[in-house]
Amino acid sequence: MAYTIKVNAVDHSVDVDGDTPLLWVLRDVLGMTGTKFGCGKALCGACTVLIDDAAARSCITPIDSVGAAAITTIEAIGNTLSGKKIQRAWLDLDVVQCGYCQSGQIMSASALLASKPNPSDAEIDDAMSGNICRCGTYVRIREAIKQAARSTGTDGSRG
């Protein structure tokens, strides 16, 4: 049946079964490929998006559970203050390697920073533990989150 979902502030109508995960709606139906498929079981975090500002694994989020919630993906996370800070810090510290997991890392980190502007190490570990990086960029990810937390201003510059 048809579902209307709001992705990055734009309404989209899609005609798929209600059990279709948001991931495949984004990637295959809407052509928004920034959100990645890694496992399909919420084990790796590559598919992380924001649903009403909370990080969620889109690979196990059926389309019929989304309703009118606001979905934010990597393509638009730079429009949020925390997302912009995180992206800036990611570039400053050259966090990425192969980069495949980084959409999910950035979404989880942005959600963390939006809810906890100065996260502790334990809070960073807790928020990021579901995001796997096969290249092993974890050390830089943690440092970048701390740098983003220290930064101020809407342009993402460090304070």
């Binding site: 798929v16 079964d17 059990d19 279709t20 995960p21 495949w24 709606v25 990637r27 295959d28 139906v29 052509g31 928004m32 490929t33 920034g34 959100t35 990645k36 498929f37 890694g38 496992c39 399909g40 079981k41 084990l43 790796c44 590559a46 993906t73 990597i74 393509e75 730079g78 992206q87 990611w90 570039l91 050259d94 966090v95 990425v96 390697q97 192969c98 980069g99 495949y100 997991c101 980084q102 959409s103 950035i106 796997i132 990086c133 096969r134 290249c135």
Partner: protein, 619 residues
């Protein structure tokens, strides 16, 4: 910095196919010509048979190599080494830009098309990214390519101004006449530079003059990877594309017996079930419908000869094989005699299990097979093998197969293999229009080609001071090299030349130099040594190079055993190693530095440990 089109899709691959192996040095390959769209093209001059049938290519009279400069001044660098996280899309541009005298912010990158003649890795003889070769193999060739272009641009400017070329120098995409301060952009000079003869001498910079090399340049691929615009193979979008999910027989060597697709047909969005000899694919409007369709199939497998095979059987086979004498990798002194007279003897067996690559981006490949050609969109470490594989399955000549390479969401050796490309082409042959074949994570793990299960017997004799005076090590396991070289060698003499005499002799003797890499030549002073290799293939299980290849297995075995020796000698593991490194000053310095930085000897909190190990590899 340009982001959105940095990895612009290369629609007009103008690679040429040489009809025979070209025994030409890379230097001789460099030739200048004019690019189709105008401008300077540095390329390889070979017997060119136009590979691309597109009409838009008519008039392109030279193939791509590494640098293209348009009349608009756009500098495009063609990346023959793939980016899978290791940083080649920054290090290769640095080599080119250093000598070309452009800033990294001025360049645009393109993925290279498949072409062994143009883009072979000098250390392999084929177009391949792997084995930590990219910088080692391309350190000079890419700098020469950059320097050649710069020399021609400087000469073109000198001609324009009617001045001595020595009074001109290049900087940031411009040539400057020193005495007068006149400037011309590379774009303005491109046509004239393209008409000039190739310089005979291509002096390279003195390292003290490096501006980029040696700096921690920002990754050129990073901006696209933090905003979702980076395109990996799995992100390809082709008009009219269908989506497929595949299930191969869960037992290696098994075949498809039958499929009942009556339930799958009722799934919304399902289009087609493709039956292969040993696999089934569901083709649908999107991946989820394909997954549901696949799950709804009633598949019967003929599990074949390995239906009852267990891990225990595989290990037992290796145990038995490890009793055989192997092909000698290193023999020095008389280890038997030294062992017999040693004050203390230690023996150990180390086993390392099969390992999947588990790239974050699961295996995937998008293919469009047509009667007159085939397009393959994929992230691969071996573009020419991908082309050959697709040609074989389709029956098309290789020049009719376009391979569009992409960023790789991890490689680790998995994308040195073309099994998932073969599979996708087999499926696409039965599908009208393009189809994206994505393996589920389960399929990706279950049908990986694994790092071999190795069974290592290792022994040492210690003298009364605990120093090793005898050392034997037998590696038993699958030979990846034997498989790969059997696939490579019929292909070209170039591979043999790249391999070098020592490797060729080893191969003829049956020695897998990768399987003993890190075992045959540990950095330590060992006087009486025998290291040998027994090849034993696990029944039915495919094996492949895996992240760091041979040394990953051997460093674990050798260094674990060194720790055992240190413990037996009641010595500190760092000091024990250090005492064996008097003849290896560099290794000793590395070890000492690591110990210093790790705070070796400082107390640790309870529940924490500290270890040290040493390996020489990829030098």
């Amino acid at each position: 910095m340009c982001c959105s089109d940095r990895f612009g899709f290369v629609a007009t691959a103008r690679a040429s196919e040489a009809s025979r192996d070209a025994n030409l040095s890379r230097r001789a390959f460099l030739a200048a010509g004019t690019a189709a769209g105008g401008g300077l093209l540095l390329s390889v001059e070979l017997p060119a048979l136009s590979r691309n049938a597109n009409a838009s290519d008519a008039g392109a009279f030279a193939p791509n190599a590494f640098i293209r400069i348009g009349r608009d001044g756009q500098v495009t660098l063609i990346m023959h080494k793939v980016e899978m996280g290791q940083g080649t899309y920054t290090s290769m541009p640095m080599l080119l830009a250093e000598e070309l005298e452009v800033d990294l912010s001025q360049v645009r990158l393109e993925h290279a098309p498949p072409n062994d003649q143009l883009y072979a890795e000098p250390l392999f003889g084929v177009q391949e990214t792997g084995g930590s070769t990219s910088v080692r193999g391309n350190w000079e060739p890419l700098r020469q390519a950059g320097a050649t272009a710069r020399i021609l641009l400087e000469a073109a400017a000198a001609q324009t101004w009617k001045v001595d070329a020595n009074s001109c120098h290049a900087a940031r995409g411009e040539v400057i006449h020193g005495p007068s301060g006149r400037r011309l952009s590379y774009g303005a000079l491109a046509d004239k530079a393209a008409a000039l003869p190739l310089p005979r001498n291509i002096p390279l910079k003195d390292p003290k003059d490096f501006k980029l090399i040696g700096t921690s340049a920002k990754r050129l691929d990073a901006p696209d990877k933090v905003n979702g615009t980076a395109k990996f193979g799995i992100d390809v979008k082709v008009p009219g594309m269908k989506f497929a999910v595949v299930a191969a027989c869960p037992v290696f060597g098994g075949r498809l017996a039958s499929v009942d697709d009556s339930k799958a047909k009722t799934i919304k969005g399902m289009h087609q079930v493709v039956r292969l000899d040993d696999a089934v694919a569901a083709v649908a409007d999107h991946t989820w419908a394909a997954k549901k369709g696949l799950a709804a199939l009633d598949i019967r497998w003929d599990e074949g000869p390995h239906a009852k095979l267990s891990t225990r059987d595989i290990v037992q086979q290796l145990v038995t094989a490890s009793q055989r004498s192997g092909v000698v990798a290193r023999q020095q002194g008389d280890p038997g005699k030294a062992m017999a007279s040693a004050a203390q003897k230690l023996e150990a067996v180390y086993e390392v299990s099969f390992l999947a690559h588990a790239t974050m981006e699961p295996a995937n490949c998008t293919v469009h097979v047509r009667p007159d050609g085939c397009d393959v969109w994929v992230g691969t470490q071996v573009p020419t093998f991908a082309q050959t594989a697709a040609a074989k399955v389709t029956g098309l000549p290789p020049k009719k197969v376009e391979v569009h390479n992409h960023l790789l969401g991890g490689g680790f050796g998995r994308r040195l293999e073309v099994d998932f490309i073969l599979r996708a082409v087999e499926i696409a042959k039965q599908v009208a229009g393009p189809v994206k074949v994505v393996w589920t994570r389960e399929e990706d793990i279950q049908h990986d080609m694994y790092r071999p299960y190795y069974y290592d017997r290792i022994a040492a004799g210690l003298n009364e001071r605990g120093k090793p005076v005898a050392w034997t090590h037998r590696v038993t396991g699958s030979s990846i090299m034997a498989r790969v070289t059997s696939e490579l060698f019929p292909k070209t003499l170039r591979v043999m030349r790249a391999a070098g005499l020592n490797n060729l002799v080893a191969m003829v003797r049956g020695l897998d130099v990768d399987a003993v890499d890190g075992a045959a030549e540990p950095p330590y002073a060992l006087d009486n040594v025998r290291v040998d290799y027994v090849r034993e293939e696990p029944p039915g299980i495919p094996t492949a190079f895996w992240r760091g290849v041979g040394p990953t297995h051997n460093v674990f075995v050798v260094e674990s055993f060194i720790d055992e020796l240190a413990a037996a000698a009641k010595q500190d593991p760092f000091e024990y190693r250090r005492a064996l490194l008097d003849k290896s000053p560099r290794a000793k310095a590395v070890l000492e530095l690591a110990a210093k930085r790790a705070g070796w000897g400082r107390p640790l909190p309870s529940g924490s440990g500290r270890g040290i190990s040493l390996l020489h590899a990829f030098g």
